[in-house]
Symmetry: C2
Subunit: 434 residues, 2 copies
């Protein structure tokens, strides 16, 4: 049986020529031969729309048509697929919906866009029979979208937990390894170009919540539920917390957790103690790592760069290769966007944060050894069983057995009202299984 | 645009009802609802061929036709896909080629079969227009096939290194953590059912070489090249080597490495020192871990179970979901078996082991402190620069700067000929980057 003749070229229009856009050009150009061999058809960057056309023309050369108007690009009949690389959620949404309306496939690494407008975008794409690739939107070079939608498709996912924000992980790693203050570590990240001038989206957990809402949609169905994510950032952490955590056998990471609990789905982003010899404790600096527990697979883990121009392009171009392989055979892309077909199970109800039951870490400033004793009594009265202590002069640091959120809140209030405690109590949750 | 009506069922015939076969049944039955939602069509285990039909009938129930003759199953017109779960390379090859000849897709977790007969099987499948799924053949529940063929498709792969044999990793972990002898650790693995009565395929590196030949084919093209893999096993290791390695800041793992060197492709399986704080040092017990370095992605890592009934079934059923998604839309599976279309780049030449240049570990039995001095002189004469020493009574243990294989061989010969050395010298390579 002779194979049918196949399409020879996938023609790509690129919107935006910043970090992601220029990386995509560089990888497509640099690895052209291998990419063509893998895809079975050429992937040609045919058109770029950018506000700085001069730079794009200089880098991309004369074979690529450069324009300023992205809407001209998305409407252009010779383009098969649009790569959205401008970021943000306004113009990017217009470009993506415009491309879909014109029957183009789309590839994007824009997590905010899909976390906020994924339902609308995926529905429009389904309706029009085109595909949205977003491997780069979750964990950059780590093929976690493919792992969840396809590799682990046989599993009931029990939970997943990840370090998915490279900027905050860089800051936490510096605080742990050098004893830097939060402010100093953040300044260094900004100087290195790892953090924005306004770092809120990274350090307050919003970016991790965007990614978590996509991960959870693929793991559990029900679409991206960004507004259901409980989010706490890393601004309140002190170098002392890392020193105490180390004495307690742990480190501190900003975790994004999606978990099927007894009463529904937990979606939460917060700093947490994780075991120093665990899987996530070595995900340091700007790296990302995601642990997924399936009922058949057991624990699997995925690790790689959480940021970077070529790193993101690795995922963007992988999505282009998927498309090229399908288009070459005149096939649709057969994997549904979030891993479930429309006949997917209903969305799980959300579990209230109050029903969470995790070990707790408390750092409690005390005046003297009498204060230390009183602190233990207060914790005991609130049902907090201390399992490890790592005191320092003027501070009690404890790790407890699992306790309800409400118990932990009440204990903090009682501690701060106690005469034995001098100042604010720091409370963090601990995840002992990863 | 209304989607076309789609196929409602993928009908599966299962050959073999041992560890992999019964796990496949259990996962398909237990997670039916989620699997159907993900696949968009039901995956029905319709037929089982096994030498123990009674047990299969009892477990699978009356809806599944059970027979003894696998050739009747592969020829049966109602079957869409055959899962080969009998193992070995003779009857399994007949079943797989028979299924292909009858126009059935095939899913298998049989690494030996594909390492030895992959070229023949993939060519037959291409010719007949059917697909061979083998996610479970490389690292069981870790979706590394998908990562290499698709997730990292944009990259020139520079190297990959993995712990891909759970049995030998269990033995090495016991030797390290408990100081057990090789023999005791192997006996425990056998008692737990982790090792065969004849453990040769696991402990001598053959199984890892099967998997490496598939990994390398997906990373570098050129098909499975099992006979080109340089293979050394773990039988010669002593508990003392782990103690020395720890003092040198390392642990010892059986690594499978594929690397694009200056003169071609290196394919090698051997025990190696890896840094105690590196990515692979925490892949312990029966777990598997694979690190892949791409030129765009940078380093990525994949970790998960290296053995087990449900763990292997997780991968087998993932392959069935891939097929179901394609069959549902009457599409072919668009990803080529080894990640490259036929127009793939030519196979890289093999690099001779002699051109390898790695840091070396030597454990050298000596009589006295005069012997220790002489040993250092002998090493220096052979161009071996010692960078760290961890001596114990009667033994010198050193870690060197990178040295040629030929230098290392010559140094071992010279040491063993020296009057200062009492007995056999142990030499291991070290990988410092993972």
């Amino acid at each position: 049986m002779n194979p049918p003749p196949h399409r020879k070229t996938l023609r790509v229009g690129l919107i935006g020529f910043g970090v992601v856009g220029s990386g995509t050009h560089a990888v497509l150009a640099g690895n052209r031969r291998t990419i063509t061999a893998r895809a079975g058809c050429a992937i040609e960057l045919a058109m770029i729309a950018t506000r700085t056309p001069g730079r794009a023309r200089e880098i991309a050369g004369p074979g690529v048509e450069v324009m300023q108007d992205p809407m001209r690009l998305v409407a252009h009949p010779s383009i098969d697929v649009v790569v959205e690389a401008i970021g943000g959620t306004t113009a990017a949404r217009d470009c993506v919906l415009g491309a879909i309306a014109h029957g183009k496939h789309v590839v994007t690494a824009n997590k905010a866009l899909l976390a906020l407008h994924g339902d609308e975008i995926f529905a429009a794409a389904r309706e029009r029979g085109v595909s949205i690739g977003f491997e780069g939107a979750v964990a950059v070079s780590i093929p976690i979208v493919k792992a969840l939608r396809e590799g682990l498709a046989a599993n009931e996912i029990e939970w997943l937990a990840g370090i998915v924000n490279g900027t905050s992980n860089f800051v936490l790693t510096r605080m742990r390894d050098r004893g830097d203050s939060y402010e100093d570590a953040l300044r260094e990240a900004q100087a290195l170009g790892y953090a924005e001038a306004d770092p809120a989206l990274d350090v307050d957990g919003g970016d991790a919540a965007h990614k978590l809402s996509l991960l959870a949609a693929m793991a559990f169905g029900g679409g991206p539920r960004f507004h259901d994510v409980h989010v706490e950032g890393i601004r309140g952490l002190q170098p002392a917390d890392f020193a105490h955590a180390a004495r307690l056998g742990h480190t501190i990471k900003l975790l994004a957790v999606a978990q099927r609990g007894e009463c529904g789905l937990q979606l939460r982003v917060h700093p947490a103690l994780t075991p120093a010899d665990g899987l996530l404790a070595r995900v340091d600096g700007r790296m990302n790592g995601i642990v997924v527990k399936g009922d058949a697979s057991g624990v699997t883990m995925y690790y790689g760069a959480g940021a970077g121009s070529r790193e993101t392009a690795s995922a963007v171009v992988a999505d282009l290769v998927d498309l090229a392989r399908a288009v070459r055979q005149e096939s649709p892309v057969c994997v549904p966007h979030l891993g479930f077909h429309e006949e997917a199970p209903d969305a799980l109800p959300m579990e209230a944060m109050e029903s969470l039951r995790l070990p707790q870490y408390f750092r409690i400033p005390v005046a003297d050894s009498r204060g230390e004793k009183q602190v233990t009594e207060v914790l005991g009265r609130h049902g907090i069983d201390v399992v490890r202590r790592a005191d320092a002069p003027g501070e009690v640091a404890v790790l407890s057995a699992p306790a309800q959120e409400s118990q932990a809140h009440a204990a903090v209030r009682a501690l701060e009202a106690s005469a034995a405690v001098r100042g604010k109590v720091t409370r963090l949750r601990a995840e002992l299984a990863i």
